[in-house]
């Protein structure tokens, strides 16, 4: 039983990071139908920037994080302005490819700026694990779990009640009608990208504290795709629940199935889920999808 519970808890805390990164995908997809395959690089840049500020300036973590978020906002704005806006009427494949190109461009840039070495974060959270009865959690994981919940609540409220939030949903629903409301679609998209970059940077910072920051971190972008598909590309709650689900399933597969097949299933199982989900319920558990008109 302990074994099961521990695996469950691990799944949930790892899943919370997945959910966080998945959130970045969903935010952008909702408002502009773009799947940002450069999300992993956003995460990476966020991690590097925060780490660099902290090691270079001795600023307290919170201040460093805030500066990182400001820089992420700028990153989001410029990506939207320079890459996405000029392609607003382009077909899906062009936009997928543009974000792949963006991933490559940013990845190269990161290499040129920060080099190749994995860097470790200065200690922010205590490393001593916390014990709940028989269960063990590392503080960083606990914090990422809390962060995810806070973000979930924040975004739910934001989209439900704030003017910008409603405008963003309006643009996602019907951009032209939103325009007729006097909503500036350009601004909304820019804000969306900025928020997505901010979320990614938070993810990068947390992930960096767990594993250090190195180029390999960008692979989280692909790792998390199954989460988004499972949860539904356009559902914020779906991203988070999908994150938890994938985290749990992955760890259960790792815990129970891996010994049977000789290991390695843990990393592939999410993609098997993707194939199943796409066959059975293409728009994910919580996605809205939509009928196509001829």
């Amino acid at each position: 039983m302990d074994f099961f519970l521990q695996i469950l808890v691990t799944g949930i805390v790892v899943g919370s990071i997945y959910g966080l990164v998945a959130l970045g995908f969903v935010l952008i997809y909702r408002s502009s139908d773009v799947l940002n395959l450069a999300n992993g690089e956003f995460v990476l840049i966020g991690g590097y920037v925060c780490l660099t500020i902290m090691t270079a300036s001795n600023l307290p973590f919170i201040v460093a994080l805030l500066i990182t978020l400001v820089i992420s906002v700028l990153l989001g704005f410029s990506v939207e302005r320079l890459v996405i806006r000029p392609l607003k009427n382009a077909p899906v494949i062009s936009i997928i490819m543009a974000t792949i190109g963006l991933a490559s461009l940013l990845g190269g840039l990161v290499h040129m700026v920060w080099g190749h070495r994995t860097r470790t974060f200065p200690q922010v959270f205590p490393s001593e694990p916390i014990h709940f009865g028989g269960l063990i959690i590392t503080p960083v994981y606990l914090w990422s779990f809390i962060t995810v919940l806070v973000l979930l609540v924040t975004f739910t409220l934001f989209f439900k009640f704030s003017k910008m939030g409603i405008a963003m949903r309006a643009v996602a629903d019907d951009a032209k009608a939103a325009m007729s409301m006097g909503i500036s679609v350009k601004n909304v998209l820019a804000v969306t990208w900025a928020i997505a970059a901010v979320v990614a940077a938070i993810g990068g910072t947390l992930l960096g504290m767990i594993n250090g920051v190195g180029p390999i971190m960008a692979t989280i972008g692909l790792t998390v795709l199954p989460v988004v598909i499972l949860g539904g590309l356009d559902s914020i709650g779906g991203a988070i629940i999908g994150g938890f689900l994938i985290g749990i399933i992955q760890n259960l597969a790792g815990g129970y199935l891996d010994p049977m097949v000789g290991g390695g299933l843990k990393e592939v199982v999410p993609f098997i889920i993707v194939l199943l989900i796409l066959l059975l319920k293409p728009y994910g558990l919580f996605g809205k999808g939509g009928a196509e008109r001829v």
């Binding site: 382009a90 899906v92 494949i93 997928i96 490819m97 190109g101 490559s104 190269g108 598909i229």
Partner: protein, 353 residues
């Protein structure tokens, strides 16, 4: 129809057959002959190194043509080309090395096996569109590679398999030049087939599916058949490319077929021009040669920027991304469109209006 100058000012076709002919103008015929001559005489003039590069380029061209049939012609996005190249490569390796077939049998079989597996993965395309299909193929990429890694008895797992260069009688195609000729022939056949496909009933059905699949269905096009067919035909080419590449490098291993290969192929057809056979070829050359060119540029700059050579790969990555984005924004038609613009410009020159 003679003009005053006694010269035809245009191509007049007097029968459907003439209109449908592959080389429907004199210029095209001349161009074709020149192209063939260039391809076959190239080894006499170019260095061994250059021939090696050209071999890589034309093998990639075959794969790119394949992907363009699926993505450019039929509008089905695939981010799983890498894995399908792998299927072709492994099929060839297993057929020749483990089962002892000759390369000449293994090559077409590798294409057919890849076509079958590609067709299988094409089945979901009936329900999935755009982004979702792209992600399904991405998942296929991971799952296929996982199977290759795990099916040790068949694929020798992660350590890969060894292949031999093909032989004709006692003559092994082990030199750069001989393998270049082999690839060039395969390449010409592929290009010829693909150009014909565009003009066939099937090709037009593909275009209809791409432009509006539901409308195509209403027009009586069997969506299922054509979508799966597009996957299969496309995978056939990719399988052939995979097999050729495997015999060229004489080894297959899962690391050959990672996701970045899929991305490179997508970049080829996008930069070359979606839906254009000629564009696929241009794109394949462009993407294959891009690092070589950058290398030269960086090399010539190394006097000024000594550190740059150390981050050359990162710089390559950066430029690769930038080139993709620039093309998408400024020339979505790709190199093929640029080419036809240029050609048209000179055709009308000096009266460009």
């Amino acid at each position: 129809m003679k003009s005053i100058l006694g010269k035809n000012l245009g191509n007049y076709r007097t029968s459907y057959r003439a209109d449908m002919a592959l080389l429907n103008s004199r210029n095209k015929k001349i161009g074709m002959v020149i192209l063939l001559l260039v391809i076959f005489l190239l080894p006499m003039f170019a260095s061994n190194y250059f021939i090696g590069l050209m071999t890589l380029c034309i093998i990639s061209s075959i794969g790119a043509i394949g992907l363009n049939i699926l993505t450019g012609f039929t509008g089905q996005i695939s981010i799983g080309v890498g894995a399908f190249l792998g299927v072709g490569g492994y099929a060839s390796a297993i057929l020749t090395t483990s089962m002892g077939y000759s390369f000449w049998i293994a090559l077409p079989l590798a294409g057919i096996i890849t076509a079958i597996i590609g067709g299988l993965f094409g089945i979901p395309s009936l329900r999935l569109k755009g982004l979702y299909l792209a992600i399904a193929t991405l998942a296929a990429q991971f799952v296929i590679l996982f199977i290759i890694r795990r099916w040790v008895s068949l694929t020798n797992g992660t350590s890969g398999m060894v292949l031999q260069r093909p032989t004709i009688g006692d003559f092994a195609l082990s030199s750069n030049t001989s393998y270049y000729y082999l690839s060039a022939i395969a390449f010409l056949l592929s290009a010829f087939y693909a150009i014909n496909l565009v003009r066939s009933r099937t090709g037009r059905a593909f275009f209809a599916v791409r432009d509006r699949d539901m409308a195509a269905q209403i027009m009586g096009i069997n969506l299922f058949k054509y979508k799966v067919m597009a996957f299969a035909i496309s995978s056939f080419f990719i399988g052939i490319a995979g097999s050729l590449l495997a015999h060229y490098t004489m080894i297959v291993s899962p690391e050959f077929y990672e996701i970045n290969v899929s991305i490179q192929y997508l970049a080829m057809i996008l930069i070359g021009g979606l839906g254009s056979v000629f564009g696929s070829i241009l794109g394949a050359f462009f993407i294959t040669l891009l690092p070589v060119v950058l290398n030269i540029i960086v090399g010539s700059l190394s006097g000024i920027l000594t550190d740059l050579s150390h981050i050359l790969s990162a710089f390559e990555e950066f430029v690769f991304g930038a080139v993709i984005i620039l093309f998408l924004i400024f020339e979505p038609g790709g190199l093929a469109h640029m080419w036809s613009n240029t050609v048209n410009y000179f055709k009308k020159w000096p009266f460009s209006y």
